[in-house]
């Protein structure tokens, strides 16, 4: 079975998807409120709801991307250099990493030559397939969160303003909902108001916050927090850190120190190091991932602000070049606007119309 059909199969409840799409989300909630729904039905609904959120969140991005691909096929009917150049632009416009785009178009050039393809329409399916392949190629880090039976320490890092603290609040909420005890460490002692911001989130989700005053040593805060979490038998400790640009040597050293301090208490920790990335970021996200990975060995990406028009295509490049998977995506400002990332959902969200169309053509 081709990757394509597997994806399609995965979403084979096609009519349900469409129904969901046509409904407003509060209508769906009304359905829930009638009290007649069974637990299985609820779980099924919840599953759909996740896919639904993805689709809604990516709706805008998908529409634009879709329109561009279709337009591309319409304006470039024959496979030639102009076509590939235009395709490059479409992919670049989704912020897919530059080198990854070049790699992809080169592979397509070879493929077209090999199979003697002259009509662009015949390449349509291959384009999507290649993109999924690129995401799935480099799989040396698990796409699942590495949760421990006792304490799991999660270190959250990233440049300024990507949404670290907000993401921590949402991740904390998620684990609290699962019945875990969660603690937060206020490791951003630099930015004005950052500690209070985390405290507000802690109060909201019901998580203890370990903090010191502004300007204190973040490594010390984190050290205290890991010890406190061990003592209290906490399930999950999430450590906030100050935003830092990846080219600031001394700030990156500070991060290394924070990581080493965690290791001092528990040599297997941190169990997860999450890099928070703003979906609107362009090619620089790759430089961020590289630099943070060197210092802290990133185990996953949290892709935020995906509810805008940005597509966050750079995550394809990060996965392709560094093998780091996306673990969560932020789809809004509300406390539960955070979803576990599923590559298939993401790619499906970006390409669903194309997949549907091409497979229908194949069916005929």
């Amino acid at each position: 079975m081709s990757l394509f059909n597997r994806l399609k199969k995965k979403f084979s409840g096609k009519h349900t998807d469409e129904e969901i799409e046509n409904k407003e989300s509060d209508e769906l909630i009304d359905e829930l409120d009638d009290g007649l729904i069974s637990l299985e039905e609820f779980e099924e609904w919840e599953q759909e709801q996740i896919g639904y959120k993805f689709r809604m969140g990516l709706e805008k991005s998908r529409e634009r991307f879709q329109a561009q691909i279709n337009q591309l096929m319409a304006t470039h009917r024959t496979v030639d250099e102009d076509f590939f150049e235009a395709l490059e632009e479409v992919l670049i416009s989704a912020d897919v990493g530059f080198n990854t785009v070049m790699e992809l178009t080169d592979e397509l050039r070879d493929y077209a030559k090999l199979k003697n393809i002259t009509e662009t329409v015949d390449l349509k399916e291959v384009i999507v397939e290649k993109m999924i392949e690129i995401y799935e190629r480099n799989n040396h880090i698990s796409e699942e969160m590495n949760m421990q039976d006792d304490l799991t320490v999660i270190l959250v890092v990233g440049v300024n303003g990507v949404g670290k603290t907000t993401s921590i609040g949402k991740i904390a909420h998620r684990y609290v909902k699962e019945g875990k005890s969660v603690m937060l460490a206020a490791g951003d002692t630099f930015r004005a108001g950052a500690i209070n911001q985390l405290q507000v989130w802690g109060d909201r989700v019901g998580a203890d916050v370990i903090k010191q005053s502004e300007g204190s040593d973040p490594a010390a805060v984190v050290f205290d927090a890991v010890n406190a979490a061990k003592r209290r038998g906490t399930d999950v400790l999430i450590c906030d850190t100050a935003g830092r640009l990846q080219n600031k040597g001394n700030l990156m050293k500070e991060l290394e120190k924070i990581k080493n301090v965690i290791k001092k208490v528990d040599e297997n920790a941190p169990h997860e190091v999450l890099l928070v990335l703003d979906a609107t970021t362009g090619q620089n996200a790759l430089s961020q991932a590289k630099a943070f990975n060197e210092v802290t060995e990133i185990t996953g990406i949290v892709l935020t602000k995906l509810d805008g028009t940005a597509k966050g295509g750079i995550v394809l490049a990060i996965k392709n070049e560094l093998g780091i998977p996306v673990k969560f995506v932020g789809l809004g400002e509300k406390i539960d606007d955070l979803e576990v990332f599923s590559a298939e959902n993401y790619v499906y969200g970006l390409f669903s119309d194309m997949i549907d169309e091409t497979s229908e053509e194949n069916d005929e």
Binding site: Q197, L245, G249, D278, A310
Partner: protein
């Protein structure tokens, strides 16, 4: 620093064409393909790139008329001109109101850096425009955003008007403006919550605030690392609010900063300021033509000079000049001189602004922390006033004492004294006009 990557690539391309006595259409085509890739890789929006390539190609294909430059040089000149064009000509100042208060409204996506920029801008306006600024805390959504602005206000000693996060933004702004008028504060900067450009409710809120505040300046704050989406964001905010200027933040990162080129091109609104450090004085006016020449490796001498003028006391300078003439320059003066150099900011940043500096291999790897200066200063500070006046008095036992006092080695003390003497000799020549008087700008212009 931002733009360096783009600069490096473009210069590499330019270097290959500059010596050419004859430029064929094929040469230009190849060059333009590379320029196109360089710009795309720098996050310049693909539509903007397409137009840029078209403009440059059209102009470049028609050259070989001018005699003073080789055709290769002319092509480079065209690229530079078009690049400056793209970035928007000259520096644009902030719009001031005839009747105080001047109202500035900060808008943008979440995490772009509005709150920090609001604080920086207030400081800048107080420092360089003698204004009495006030901040209005209008971000009622993000937890602790008000707290953040209040902390910044306290740090800078700038009043912050806030009513907590329970009131409507419109009310807060209305009352804040009243407060400013009553207290004769002549500049009001309104911080607003970050929002997505497609969030209609929140965008309408901004429209309401605009109507109430009637701002002289609506400043769109954009993260310089933004990718292709920068164009959509800028267009949406501009369509709804008719923004008057743009501030680009986080330019101290290693972003190639293509967003700067795209935004200017689609909104035709000027980039007025750039954020260049996390420190509160890290906001600078944006000079498109200087940035363009920096991208092409032609240096930014003007910015260095301005930095110096802003930070160096003119009277001190006159006194220093007098001392140089009379050859009474002492180690103490040297110490003061170094303090001034330090106020200009990190040395490695300064060096990178020098013309041609980016052609020196490995320079980008050099981390000049200013530590060397600290060491030298420590040595001088360990001397008595008399010793600073008359360094010739320093015998070996005094030198040992100084070395111990400053925590440096004896060799370092000796080296400093030797350098100081050489410097004095050099200055003597310079001020007597015997030395070859070098015009510091003679190396400017086109570096090829």
């Amino acid at each position: 620093m931002a733009f360096e990557g783009l600069g490096g690539r473009l210069q590499g391309i330019m270097d290959r064409i500059k010596g050419k006595g004859k430029v064929t259409e094929q040469d230009i085509k190849e060059m333009m393909r590379e320029v196109r890739l360089a710009l795309l890789e720098a996050d310049v929006n693909f539509k903007v790139v397409r137009q840029f390539i078209k403009d440059v190609s059209e102009r470049a294909n028609g050259v070989d008329v001018m005699k003073s430059l080789t055709p290769g040089q002319q092509v480079i000149k065209i690229v530079q001109e078009e690049l400056t064009n793209l970035m928007g000509g000259e520096n644009s100042k902030i719009n001031m109101s005839q009747k105080p208060p001047t109202v500035i409204m900060m808008v943008g996506l979440q995490g772009a850096g509005k709150t920090t920029t609001a604080g920086k801008l207030a400081l800048l306006l107080r420092k360089s425009h003698n204004k009495k600024p006030m901040l209005i805390a209008g971000d009622i959504y993000r937890p602790a955003a008000i707290d953040q602005l209040e902390t910044i206000g306290k740090q800078l000693d700038i009043p912050v008007y806030s009513m907590g996060d329970k009131e409507k933004v419109e009310t807060i702004v209305e009352n804040g403006l009243k407060y400013a008028r009553e207290n004769h504060l002549d500049t009001v900067i309104i911080d607003t919550a970050g929002r997505l450009h497609i969030d209609e409710d929140l965008m309408n809120e901004l429209k309401n605030v605009k109507e109430i505040a009637k701002p002289n300046e609506i400043m769109l704050v954009v993260d310089s690392m933004t990718g292709q989406d920068a164009v959509n964001v800028a267009e949406s905010f501009n369509d709804l609010l008719d923004i008057t200027g743009v501030t680009l933040t986080k330019l101290d990162g290693d972003t190639r900063g293509g967003a700067a080129l795209s935004i200017r091109s689609v909104t035709e609104k000027p980039i007025k300021f750039i954020g260049v450090s996390e420190k509160m004085d890290g906001l600078e006016p944006f000079h498109p033509e200087r940035m363009a020449s920096r991208i092409l490796g032609m240096g930014d001498i003007l910015s260095i000079i301005e930095k110096a003028q802003m930070n160096v006391d003119l009277e001190d300078q006159a006194e220093l000049e007098q001392k140089l003439k009379e050859n009474t320059f002492t180690l103490d003066d040297f110490l003061a001189q170094m303090d001034q150099v330090k106020t200009l900011g990190p040395l490695d940043e300064l060096i990178k602004m020098m013309p041609g500096a980016n052609k020196i291999k490995g320079l980008d790897k050099v981390k000049m922390s200013g530590k060397e200066i600290d060491h030298v200063q420590a040595i001088i500070r360990s001397m008595t006033m008399e010793e600073r006046e008359k360094p010739e008095k320093l015998n070996i036992s005094r030198k040992r004492r100084i070395a111990a006092g400053s925590g440096r080695s004896l060799q370092e003390v000796n080296r400093l004294l030797k350098q100081f003497n050489e410097m004095k000799k050099m200055m003597k020549q310079f001020t007597n006009g015997k030395g070859k008087k070098k015009n510091p700008f003679s190396g400017m212009g086109l570096p090829f």
